[in-house]
């Protein structure tokens, strides 16, 4: 009676939802080459999501303006990883089984680590710009075209000991896999150059806003330099460190270039030094100048290194499809032959393990602006 009607109604409602869910899956008849992208549009690394998308969108526009890939249009299917590996896995599964892309572009260590095995199993190339050393090791379908901590840490260690001539280093990093590896590198390299790591603290990026407990312990270790690495928490940490009277030299990586850093940390971050993939927007190099001009026209701002990195990723993958074919295996074969590709993010050659070796410069923040301090040695 009423109960039965309710049951029937519920079944019909469910049927409706199944139909609606399936509706969207109609394969489109139009011929198009698709690439996947799993990027952090939301979450604590959203700065990187915005920029990488801008870079790859511009590259796609250029490829299609030049007639596409052998006449076929190129399209990138973007999925939000939300800075969360779990979300990335769902997104990756969708890209692989529904969109059937031959390659997926991504960024961030946690996300990459979670989706690379899926790519490996489904023979889909995953090209990442994450910074974990050795991230492509052991995976045939994983590639990286960016610098890793293997490049950044030695450069920073050298800078601290040779340029700053400081010996006491405190490290504060977001709890993560890349932090473990970076720390291991610091621990093995820094003492060799005569330095001492006086304290190490970690924090949980998502959960914490008050870092004073860790900073208290760091302060007690009397460091000369303080290296901070994470995402959105970084400017807050630097701010609180200054408020607590920690006078150590602030050090970091290109995370310091995200826009809210100056807004939140303001004067606290003045005079900080950081490592950055060799990428100088003001370089007179013709490739850089052309690229920056086009980027500025399209987006009204200067391109930073990750936009350029993903711009290169699209170009490389488009070349792979054009020269070898529209499948994970074809893309992979092509990438392994790439030598001295003149990318805007640097000259690219893929090593047999899918990784690259790129250089890192030292930059600084002076008068609220980002300046090149010293080129890589």
């Amino acid at each position: 009676m009423f109960g039965k009607t309710m049951r029937l109604a519920s079944i019909l409602v469910c049927a409706f939802f199944i139909a609606a869910a399936v509706y969207d899956l109609d394969a489109s008849a139009q011929q198009v080459y698709k690439l996947g992208a799993v990027l952090p549009f939301t979450g604590s690394a959203s700065f990187f999501g915005k920029n990488t998308r801008q870079g790859s969108d511009m590259a796609v526009g250029e490829v299609n303006a030049a007639g596409g890939i052998n006449g076929v249009k190129l399209e990138v299917v973007y999925e939000d990883s939300k800075t969360e590996p779990k979300e990335a896995v769902t997104a990756m599964n969708k890209l692989v089984s529904i969109d059937k892309v031959p390659a997926v572009m991504t960024i961030l260590t946690g996300v990459s680590r979670a989706i690379i095995p899926i790519g490996e199993k489904s023979k889909v190339v995953v090209m990442t710009s994450a910074m974990l050393p050795g991230i492509t090791e052991g995976y045939k379908y994983a590639f990286r075209n960016a610098t890793s901590y293997d490049n950044h840490v030695p450069a920073m260690v050298d800078f601290i000991t040779a340029d700053l001539k400081m010996k006491r280093l405190a490290i504060m990093m977001a709890q993560s896999e890349w932090a473990d590896r970076a720390l291991a590198l610091y621990k093995s390299l820094f003492p060799k150059k005569g330095g001492e790591i006086v304290s190490v603290e970690t924090f949980q990026e998502e959960a914490e806003t008050d870092f004073r407990t860790q900073l208290t312990k760091i302060k007690a270790s009397k460091p000369e330099a303080l290296f901070v690495e994470g995402f959105k928490a970084v400017p807050v940490i630097i701010k609180q460190a200054t408020e607590m009277g920690i006078k150590a030299q602030v050090l970091g990586s290109h995370t310091l270039e995200s826009p809210d850093v100056l807004k939140i940390a303001k004067t606290a971050v003045e005079g900080a030094y950081y490592t950055k993939t060799a990428f100088d927007p003001n370089s007179p190099d013709k490739i850089m100048q052309d690229y920056q001009k086009k980027y500025k026209e399209r987006y009204g701002e200067t391109s930073e290194v990750y936009a350029a990195t993903h711009y290169d990723q699209v170009k490389l993958l488009a070349l792979a499809i054009k020269n070898k074919g529209y499948s994970g295996d074809a893309v992979r074969e092509y990438l392994l032959t790439v030598k001295d590709f003149p990318g805007v993010s640097g000259v690219t050659t893929f090593l047999p393990n899918g990784d690259v070796n790129k250089i890192v410069d030292i930059w600084t923040i002076k008068d609220g602006k980002y300046n090149l301090y010293r080129l890589a040695k």
Binding site: T42, G43, S44, S46, Q175, E201, T202, F203, Q204, E206, A207, E208, T209, D210, R212, T213, Q214, T216, K217, K219, A220, K232, A233, V236, K239, Q240, T242, E243, M244, G245, D260, K263, I264, A265, K266, T267, A268
Partner: protein
Amino acid sequence: MEILIQLIANGFVAGWIYAPVAIGFGLIYSTTRDFHFAHGLVYISAAYLFYALYVPANLSFLLSFVITSVAAVVLGLGIDYVIYRPLKKQGATPFIILLSSIGVIIFLENLILLAFGPERMALSKADITEGYQFGGVYMTKMQLLIVAFSILLCLAAWLLIKYTKTGRAIRAMSNDPEMAQIIGVSTNMIRAVVFSAGSALVVVPAVLVGLDTGISPQMGMTMTVMAAVAVFVGGVGHLIGAVFASLMIGMIQNLGVFYVEAKWQDLIAFGILLAFIIFRPMGLLGHRA
């Protein structure tokens, strides 16, 4: 040694952040026995409203604060009038009230997400300066203000409860709701009082914390849980207990970090909660029923 004192100072401040929120939650729970889970969302909504008024809309600090306070009270009262009361009239059990509260939380937290995005917001417009030094221990201006204002608020609440007629009615309802009704306490009026007062109490901590460390949407749920823990550990119906428990939790969390890594802070707080619930459910100041 210096670290220890600094940690105690930090813990002291942390405790005073929880205290007014805990008192608010405690007032509501002890008089109505309703688990106003959404209390923490009132807290974080107030913080976000203040942010919206003070930063993008650039209103004066005072104006932003006043508007936020009024809005918080309206929100708290609104949740009671629109959601809880009609359900109670229909004979809802506490479980149902809790569920509706959860529905409110989900709705509000995502409204904030939609409007402001998931990232942390900083409210402070001031320059960054070194904090004040007290013999090697640093405290920022905000931290000192948090302590000062929270103490004032808690004191005010305590005085009102102890010395006013309304306060007596609240105490009567806490001890025995049925008896209170029989002797003529207007439960509806008291409900309105505790929801307003409770919601008003959260505004100062919300604004100050926003100015000090920043806010994010997830902080609402965290604060509800902390407030609930403080109330139960302190003893339901004993406001001083809630304050005491808030300070205790704040201090133990921060001191705990001296011995173990910072990531275990939360665990310590909940370990304390579980220990109390199991071994001393009446809380610090409560009596065995």
